[in-house]
């Protein structure tokens, strides 16, 4: 097959019978779902009603057509399955160099099914796929396994947490890049899959190199004009932790398990403090010029914004070293930092015990090792709180713990948390871009007016971005208008920003259908009661009030209409067909 952008090949691996073969991708499906999150969702949909740990449940790794070309910020991929934590679609976009190597090896994606009898690894070198014994890595931490494997190419590894049943286990790429959310590491663990390595030598064909060069320059120009990306205080210089001060200044920093919205010690634990203390160097994903990742000379990864915030403010922790240590433990054990910290905050509130820095770190280790109270906490905040009879104290949506933006400080974010197809997540619609960072223009953060459709449009944009497998951060500066030109230059397929957005709509609707097939409805699109009952902090003219429940419900209804769902938030078959989605056959009937 003579293709530009895509390889047109997918590696299918069955761990039950230890076989693998190279499948051909349908070009029409590639056009409809692009890659990454979209294509993963396409291959997941027929199996979505299986239990997450059913051997036939696929674990999917998908890149996009722009990967392994000179397209800006395109070195990412999606890892997807059904989430052990939420029961919804579970996916995570991740950087590093795995996607790049996978494309060089000649694959757009990997579909893993089955379950190995013993712990195994998958090693891919160009078109050769090997399933190898990994029993000797049982219980080994990610950094240890990585040091053994790094010469075999890019790595994707689970840690002890995934082997031991932690429901928010991550998969770490190249040791430092986390596919953290929704617990997909646990799916790999259930399949007895400890790691993948991939190394390739091929090139990705580009239809119009000159067109790509021109479009790329436009994106670079926009990125240079972006204060958030490349500005004096932007993420290129300070990492994503650059957001830390702003969240506190806007009185929306989740503090003490979301009981407060400001953190007294914020100015001493901000990105500047980390930079001063640890002198980290810039690094980043393959092919990215923003380089938001910060790593010290001793290869210690600096915490990302969410991690910084939750391991300090959310837990009332004032020890900067403990934040770095907590991040290190999570990365080595293979646990999502957001969920881990939020679960500890829930534990702290329920048990009425303030956690010391030492206690935070020891509890994290016990989570990963399935020891003591750690074993209970490894099931996430919602299950733990339910067992304690205090589900109201789990700050989660659809069972996934909330990130570090208090929804009382940004109403679009409140709606987006509720409607996210993977539970408590800031990245599906990412309204922080306009509500806080003023891009592409500023919107009123304390109003639901117009937010329903904005959230729907934002979700579509980010679904397209996750399927092109480009970094969402670049959309603080560029838009799908520029990436449509890049897509066309790489693949030769004429498109527009709006066409890509429509593809994003299809991808979101597909996810909504999959969740509906598993019993999710509008009732699940909700926030913890605390946000409707308790105020946050005041500072000058800013007063963080509880969200008005009726206004939220009205905005949610508006969202369903904008998304063309029924009034209960359920997909409508006619709309699905219009979007090119076949009905999803489930035991209860068609969707």
């Amino acid at each position: 097959m003579n293709m530009y952008g895509w390889c047109g090949k997918i590696a299918r691996i069955n761990l039950s019978n230890q076989t693998g073969y190279v499948d051909t991708a349908d070009p029409d499906i590639l056009k409809m779902f692009i890659g990454g999150r979209g294509l993963s969702g396409y291959y997941l949909r027929e199996k979505i009603t299986l239990d997450w740990n059913h051997p036939d449940m696929p674990l999917l790794f998908f890149t996009g057509p722009l990967v392994n070309t000179r397209s800006p910020t395109s070195g990412r991929m999606t890892i997807m399955s059904r989430s052990p934590l939420t029961g919804t679609v579970g996916d995570s976009s991740v950087g590093g160099s795995f996607a790049h190597q996978l494309k060089k090896a000649g694959f757009d994606g990997i579909i893993i099914t089955g379950k190995s009898e013993t712990l195994c690894g998958i090693e891919i070198q160009d078109q050769t796929i090997r399933i190898v014994d990994a029993a000797h890595f049982t219980g080994r931490k990610i950094n240890e396994v990585h040091s053994f494997l790094k010469d075999r190419g890019s790595t994707a590894i689970i840690g002890p947490a995934a082997e031991n049943g932690v429901l928010f286990s991550s998969i770490m790429v190249d040791r430092n890049f986390a596919a953290g959310r929704t617990g997909i590491g646990r799916v790999a663990g259930s399949k007895n899959l400890k790691y993948l390595t991939v190394k390739g030598t091929g090139r990705t064909k580009v239809f119009d190199p000159e067109g790509l060069r021109s479009a790329r320059e436009d994106v670079f120009r926009l990125a240079a004009a972006s204060p958030v990306l490349l500005g004096e205080y932007g993420i290129s210089r300070f990492g994503t932790g650059a957001l830390y001060d702003l969240m506190d200044a806007r009185c929306m920093m989740p503090t003490d398990n979301f009981r407060k919205t400001r953190f007294g010690n914020a100015s001493l634990m901000n990105a500047y403090a980390f930079k001063k203390k640890y002198s980290p160097k810039k690094t980043g994903c393959r092919g990215c010029h923003i380089l938001c990742k910060k790593i010290t000379e001793s290869r210690t990864s600096m915490p990302e914004f969410e991690t910084m915030s939750h391991f300090s403010a959310l837990l009332g922790n004032r020890d900067i070293d403990a934040v770095v240590e907590a991040n290190r433990v999570c990365n080595e054990m293979g646990m999502d930092t957001i969920s881990a910290a939020a679960t500890l905050a829930c534990f702290s509130e329920i048990s009425k015990k303030k956690l010391s820095p030492q206690k935070i770190v020891s509890l994290l280790r016990n989570m990963g090792r399935n020891k003591g109270i750690g074993a209970e906490l490894g099931k996430g905040a919602m299950i733990y709180a339910q067992r304690c009879g205090r589900s109201d104290l789990a700050m989660a949506v659809k069972g996934q713990e909330l990130p570090a933006y208090d929804p009382r400080g940004a109403y679009g974010m409140a709606l987006a948390y509720a409607t996210s197809s993977r539970g408590g997540c800031h990245l599906r619609a990412y309204p922080i871009s306009h509500e806080i960072l003023r891009k592409p223009v500023a919107t009123d953060r304390f109003s639901f007016k117009g937010k329903a459709r904005m959230i729907k449009i934002g979700e579509d944009l980010n679904a397209a971005a996750d399927s092109l497998t480009v970094c969402k951060f670049i959309f603080f500066a560029a838009s799908l208008e520029e990436y449509a030109r890049i897509y066309t230059a790489v693949t030769g397929i004429k498109t527009s920003g709006q066409d890509l957005s429509e593809t994003g709509e299809r991808i979101n609707y597909n996810e909504r259908m999959m969740n509906a097939a598993n019993g999710f409805s509008g009732e699940d699109d909700d926030l913890p009661g605390r946000f409707f009952e308790s105020p946050g902090e005041k500072d000058g003219d800013i007063q963080i009030e509880p969200i008005e429940r009726e206004a939220f419900l009205s905005a949610r209804s508006n969202y369903y209409r904008a998304r063309k769902l029924d009034k209960n938030g359920m997909p409508v078959p006619k709309v699905a067909r219009q979007l090119g989605l076949r009905p999803l056959i489930i035991p209860k009937g068609d969707l």
């Binding site: 004009a225 205080y233 960072l437 223009v441 117009g450 449009i457 527009s496």
Partner: protein, 384 residues
Amino acid sequence: MNQILRTYEDRLIKNGLAEPGAPLLGCLDADLEWNRPDTDFAVFEAIFERLNINSIIFSRPAEPYRSIIDYLAETSNGIITPQDCETRTFFHDLPVSFQFSPDEITSILKKRKSIIIPGRGIITCGMVGMEQAYVTYASVCFACFIKFFSDFLWDARRGNVDERKCNLFDGVVNQLDPPASFRGSMMKGPFNSADGVCEAIQEAGRLTVEHRLVDSYFGNISFCYGQTLYISQTGSSLDDLKGCIDPCPLDGSSCVPITASSELPAHLKIVQTTGYRAILHGHPKFSIILSMDCDIENCTCRETCHQKCPHDRSVRGIPIVSGEVGSGPHSLCNTVPEAIRNEPGVIVYGHGVFTAGKTDFNQPFKNLIEIENNCRKEYFDRIR
């Protein structure tokens, strides 16, 4: 009527971009709302149905923009390509169509944020609210103004002005605002509190807009008080800066100013390398037009004037430098600070003017007006 629609309708009129009664504004959440009834509803409802957008502005521009835009559109081959910095960076080019149909408009808005329909007006859209559509509308007017006067000067130098163009030019010139003048006084420094600084910034911003020295949302303004630079936020409207000023500690100890203006690097460098503390950056039109009027024949750098120009250029003694927005390798933060050190101001190619003062905004504001008025005089001198 939706208050948001009212706000932006008023803003279009107040800023001379549309005449009363002309703008049609629609925004879609679950329901579609309009600012007034219109016979073209069906066309726009079809567009809303087909595009993932939430706001539309459709209006005939006010004069002189209307004549300028109609002319540029009619004489284009379907795309107007202004060379100013705003268009180059954020809009790329401005598509034109002669058909007022849902199919045609949709096909163009799928790829760009605006469409010009000669004789009918400008259509712009937003995905994140009416402000986005408004900024695009204002930028189309601004970019076309710059292009029209730039092209006329280029043609006049070469004797390529026909009667139609000449008549149009005269008509447009007759409708220009009078040159800016300011005989009043602004808040006087030195300021003794951060609140005082913010008030002075707001006053200077408001006056800069009122004197039409900046259009849309693209200027910025700062003052260094103690060890903190107070600067307007990115995408803020200079005539409405309350709550939109970021404190930026010079030691970099806080990242709160991550929302500061894109030109923060230039402001910081000016403060750190000169004695100036008050910095004003506007986009006065004739200064921009003249910055792009280069008579060096056969220059080998013609395609990269906006990034790096090897020549020492000036207009009536004011230096013209190259440089792009923000912090890239060709950023204006590498050219402006040095150029402004001993000058009343500096013009950035195709972009705008920086002026600076030591104690307050009185001198920078006067300099901004003077530079623009001198450029305006110089423009018409060159035409003659």
